[in-house]
């Protein structure tokens, strides 16, 4: 089914398979030895964009060399540029030691060895590389008379500092979260895993955006096959822009036509760290605080980082509560419809009479009633997110109080329905991951339709289809429903319930078969008195 | 009405199944598939328009009657 749809979707793309790229002839060309010529070329290629700064100055004794800095304003750290200029224009001139000048064969070498007081320095001789560098915040150094130059690591733009996570909050646990800067993000992980086996590979994806994408894994835990698979899938991406990790997620996931996320994302460094330590692979994308984690399993979306920071028994109870809420979100309205239209015998007599009294005079069948209310709720939820924060408050008040109350008063909706919709909504917020919650909310409507047509039979048919679908999913070769199916007794310790930390001796089996034991006997011993 | 419904369903099935098989040049598969689909369609249409079809199990019962009686006779 999925394949068919995919091929239909692809058909249109075939016609213009060639993704437009900057195939300006000049970009491939080498530098000229004439500085002015080069600068002119740079300017023309960028369409004289005003944020391209060119700073010309002279260095060497008597200022014998004409030098230029070319950089993008706003992407560079001005402090570094100023310091550099100071060294090159003032300090170097003071330097009377001719030896150093003579020791170097060229001015380039001289500058590299004595002039440029900065860490990253790389030689460059063509426009393409130079543009890559300039546009990612480096500064190009060109000298008149030379057809090569250097680009200097002067990156330093304004970014958001490390702040508190907004989408996955915890009561107990670290409060830092990723930022939009790739380097900061990788540093947040490095800080947590001080191990040389934590490897990082970076590549640029996106013909136009040249977005840095990094994959991070722990060499001796992560499965090589999976790492290679991630590399391959990233390699195959041929797209002009990567704006967020969501792009990557959609381009590399196993199955597109499923409401369920098969790639986990998080903005919490501790979650990603824990994932890495289980043998998963993190994918960082520059420009977004959301880091991807593969392979992702179904149960992972029910686990909150806090589970591991609070007591095992309490964490287990809360996890069970989450699964319960999953079923409430999925089935509650459907069960209401199914039971009230097909299986009234299941309702206790008193309740049935009171339901009958409430529904008396309501013009819609309960399916339509439920549909109206559920869609209203989804509209309210979406409105609450999109509105400016101040208005969002008002929206929820209007939604909850006015619509709910008034609809019941007006006899359009029964009181029970409002309770059911509210229950469903609240239960859906219990799920710790947003993308799972939203897919469950979507499926809920399918179950409502099934319940309205076939009653509980429809619901169970839906459930079987759901289980079949979930069982057929894979995330980077790992069955999505692991460790429930295929069953693994060891890994049950951290699925539905969480065993105490000392009990979690092995890493998840299907994620990686390397180095499965993560700890040795740590059972706390009571001191004997 | 029923017959039309059956034909629509069959046509849909055929549309979705035949093209991939034809593409892969699985000619034998295609033949068997079409044959089975034809049987199914004909039988369903017969059922839909109310042709009385003898129950093959009745024949089976008759043929196996002596054996059945022998086995059950042992235990009666």
């Amino acid at each position: 089914m999925g394949k068919k749809l995919k091929s239909i979707l692809r058909r249109k793309n075939n016609k213009q398979k060639q993704i437009d790229r900057i195939d300006n002839k000049s970009i491939k060309s080498q530098f000229d030895s004439n500085l002015e010529q080069n600068i002119k070329k740079f300017k023309s290629m960028l369409g004289s964009s005003t944020d391209l700064e060119v700073r010309k100055f002279r260095v060497g004794k008597n200022g014998s060399y004409q030098v230029a800095f070319i950089y993008t304003d706003g992407l560079v750290d001005r402090e570094i540029i100023n310091n550099l200029l100071e060294t090159l224009m003032i300090n170097l001139r003071k330097d009377d030691d001719q030896n150093s000048m003579e020791k170097s064969s060229t001015i380039l070498e001289y500058l590299e060895n004595y002039g440029i007081t900065i860490g990253g320095i790389t030689g460059v001789n063509n426009f393409e590389t130079a543009f890559d560098a300039i546009l990612s915040g480096d500064t190009l150094l060109l000298i008149d008379g030379y057809s090569e130059g250097y680009y200097l690591a002067t990156t330093g733009w304004e970014d958001r500092g490390v702040t508190e996570a907004t989408s996955q909050t915890v009561v107990r646990g670290p409060h830092d979260s990723f930022t939009e800067t790739l380097r900061t993000n990788t540093a947040l992980i490095r800080r947590r895993i001080k191990n040389p086996n934590l490897w990082l590979e970076t590549k640029q994806i996106g013909k136009r955006t040249r977005t840095d994408v990094a994959i991070m894994y722990i060499k001796d835990i992560a499965e090589d096959k999976v790492v290679q698979e991630v590399r391959n899938r990233l390699e195959q991406i041929d797209i002009d822009a990567i704006l967020e990790s969501g792009f990557i997620e959609e381009l590399i996931q196993d199955e597109t036509f499923t409401p369920f996320p098969t790639i986990y994302n998080s903005e919490r460094p501790d979650v990603i760290t824990a994932g890495l330590l289980e043998g998963r692979i993190a994918i960082f994308v520059d420009g977004t605080p959301y880091v991807l984690l593969v392979p992702a399993l179904f149960i992972q979306f029910f686990q909150s980082p806090e589970d591991y920071y609070s007591r095992a028994d309490i964490a287990s109870a809360i996890r069970i509560l989450r699964f319960f809420c999953f079923f409430i979100t999925l089935l509650f309205p459907a069960l209401y419809i199914g039971i009230t239209t097909f299986h009234q015998e299941m309702i206790p007599t008193q309740l049935l009479i009171s339901l009958a009294a409430q529904r008396e005079g309501i013009p819609f069948p309960s399916f339509v009633e439920a549909l109206i209310m559920e869609i209203t709720f989804e509209i309210l939820r979406e409105a609450g997110i999109r509105m400016p924060r101040a208005v969002g408050q008002a929206v929820s008040i209007v939604g909850a109080l006015v619509i709910g109350q008034a609809a019941v008063e007006a006899g359009i909706i029964s009181g029970v329905m409002v309770i059911i919709v509210a229950m469903t909504a609240i239960a859906s917020f219990v799920l710790p991951t947003y993308n799972m919650a939203i897919s469950v909310r979507l499926l809920r409507f399918i179950f409502m339709i099934l319940a309205a047509t076939f009653g509980l039979f429809g619901i169970i048919v839906g459930l079987i289809a759901l289980v079949l679908h979930l069982s057929s999913l894979k995330s980077f070769g790992v069955p999505y429903m692991a460790p429930m199916a295929p069953y693994n007794a060891q890994n049950q310790k951290d699925s539905l319930i969480r065993f105490p930390i000392w009990g979690l001796i092995q890493r998840p089996h299907l994620i990686s078969q390397k180095n499965v034991v993560r700890q040795h006997d740590n059972v706390p011993t009571k001191s004997k008195k | 009405m029923k017959v039309v419904g059956i034909l629509i369903v069959v046509a849909l099935i055929a549309y979705f199944e035949i093209s991939p098989m034809a593409k892969k040049k699985e000619i034998k598969d295609l033949w068997v598939f079409s044959f089975l689909l034809l049987i199914g369609t004909v039988l369903s249409i017969m059922l839909a328009i109310g042709v009385t079809i003898p129950n093959p199990l009745d024949g089976l019962t008759k043929v196996l009657k002596p054996v059945t009686n022998f086995i059950l006779g042992l235990l009666d």
């Binding site: 097909f342 299986h343 015998e345 299941m346 206790p348 076939f454 009653g455 509980l456 039979f457 429809g458 169970i460 048919v461 079987i464 289809a465 289980v467 079949l468 979930l470 069982s471 057929s472 069955p479 429903m481 429930m484 199916a485 295929p486 069953y487 | 369903v9 069959v10 099935i13 199944e17 991939p20 098989m21 892969k24 699985e26 034998k28 598969d29 068997v32 598939f33 089975l36 689909l37 049987i39 199914g40 369609t41 039988l43 369903s44 059922l47 079809i53 129950n55 093959p56 199990l57 089976l60 019962t61 196996l64 009657k65 054996v67 059945t68 086995i71 059950l72 042992l74 235990l75 009666d76």
Partner: protein, 367 residues
């Protein structure tokens, strides 16, 4: 081989258990109690013992051949044409079983759960579900079975625990009141359906991860599945009484109607009906898979997936035409089905086994 899937030994056990429970659980109390009344547990035990033997034999036979199912080695052992004949017989055998299953679930639904809904609608919905399952392959099916497993157990336990307060032990007595013949007769229907239908696993065992443990899995599955059926039957007798058990078409469902948890939660039998729904789904999927596999083998096709829809249509047709009413089905199961099951489910594989052994012996002498 039909596909590149592997199933674990645990999954095999679960498949066996659900295959045995599937559909039979609806009828077992009535059919078991028909002749042996309150001595059903004895009939059940005898049936399980025989079932264990059958399971052992199947496993033994399956392990003679590596990476081949009965559909393949029947042609090798008996020669191409006789082998194909055997495959046709097996195909028809499971066509009948699958048609009965479709009919069972649809009848149950229209009689007990959603009367008024056309039986055809239920059959079609259920058939589509099964076809989806089969097309996803054996691996996905067994994973799904693994996920159903805790639910099946939970629902069965819910049923048994919540009615256990209503047990009347006097219904058990007098023990051994019936002639051995009658007890045996009851167990015979239990052996033929579902134990002799387990021949289907001869096609599934080759996919199992560790063949060395297959015998154990087969036997454990047989005992667990049979045990559950016997326990449910016993509960029916203990709570409903012999008379009521035999009079109901679906005694197990009548038993579920007795559920009351506290004063408030009662009448939840529909939920418990989920047990047989899940298990019948698994059983029907396996049957459909087998039918498709046999046709693939018969004509040496490449893939079984396109065949599922036509087979589905034929199955629905058969489900309507083969069973004019419930009484016919019950009667058929208790009479004609017995020799059929014995011939196809036991004599046929036994012949294959003997011929295979003779061939080995013959070739051993030559060399």
């Amino acid at each position: 081989m039909l596909e590149q899937s592997k199933i674990s030994n645990r999954q095999l056990t679960i498949l066996i258990v659900q295959f045995i429970i599937g559909s039979k659980i609806l009828f077992v109390p009535a059919s078991l109690a028909a002749d042996s009344e309150q001595d059903v547990w004895l009939s059940g035990l005898i049936a399980i013992v025989v079932g264990v033997f059958v399971a052992w034999f199947y496993a033994h036979l399956a392990l003679q051949f590596k990476n081949q199912g009965i559909l393949q080695y029947s042609e090798i052992v008996l020669g191409k044409w006789i082998g194909k004949l055997v495959n046709i017989v097996l195909c028809i055998y499971f066509l009948i079983i699958a048609a009965f299953l479709v009919r069972d679930i649809a009848d149950f639904m229209t009689i007990q759960i959603i009367p008024g809904t056309p039986i055809l609608a239920i059959m079609i919905v259920f058939m589509i579900l099964t076809i989806i399952g089969v097309r996803l392959g054996l691996e996905v099916l067994s994973r799904a079975a693994e996920i159903f497993n805790p639910w099946v157990i939970f629902l069965l336990l819910l049923l048994l625990v919540s009615v256990s307060t209503q047990i009347e032990w006097k219904n058990m007595f007098p023990v051994f009141d019936h002639q051995m013949k009658h007890i045996m007769k009851s167990s015979l229907t239990f052996i033929t359906f579902p134990y002799l239908e387990m021949i289907i696993f001869l096609q599934i065992i080759p996919y199992v991860n560790k063949p060395s443990r297959v015998k154990r899995n087969m036997i454990v599955g047989t005992v667990l599945g049979g045990g559950m059926l016997v326990v449910v039957t016993l509960f029916c007798i203990l709570i409903l009484g012999v008379d009521s058990t035999t009079r109901h078409i679906y005694p197990t469902y009548a038993l579920a109607k007795k559920i009351t948890i506290g004063e408030f939660i009662s009448r939840i039998e529909v939920i418990v009906a989920g047990v047989w729904f899940l298990t019948i789904f698994i059983k029907l999927s396996l049957c459909l898979y087998f039918i498709a596999a046999s046709i693939v083998q018969l004509f040496a096709l490449k893939t079984y997936k396109p065949l599922t829809f036509p087979i589905g249509i034929i199955l629905i047709f058969l489900a309507i035409i083969l069973v004019p009413n419930m009484a016919y089905l019950t009667n058929f199961d208790a009479t004609t089905w017995i020799p059929i099951a014995i011939i196809v489910g036991f004599i046929l594989p036994f012949i294959i086994y003997i011929v295979h052994r003779l061939k080995i012996a013959a070739s051993g002498k030559k060399t």
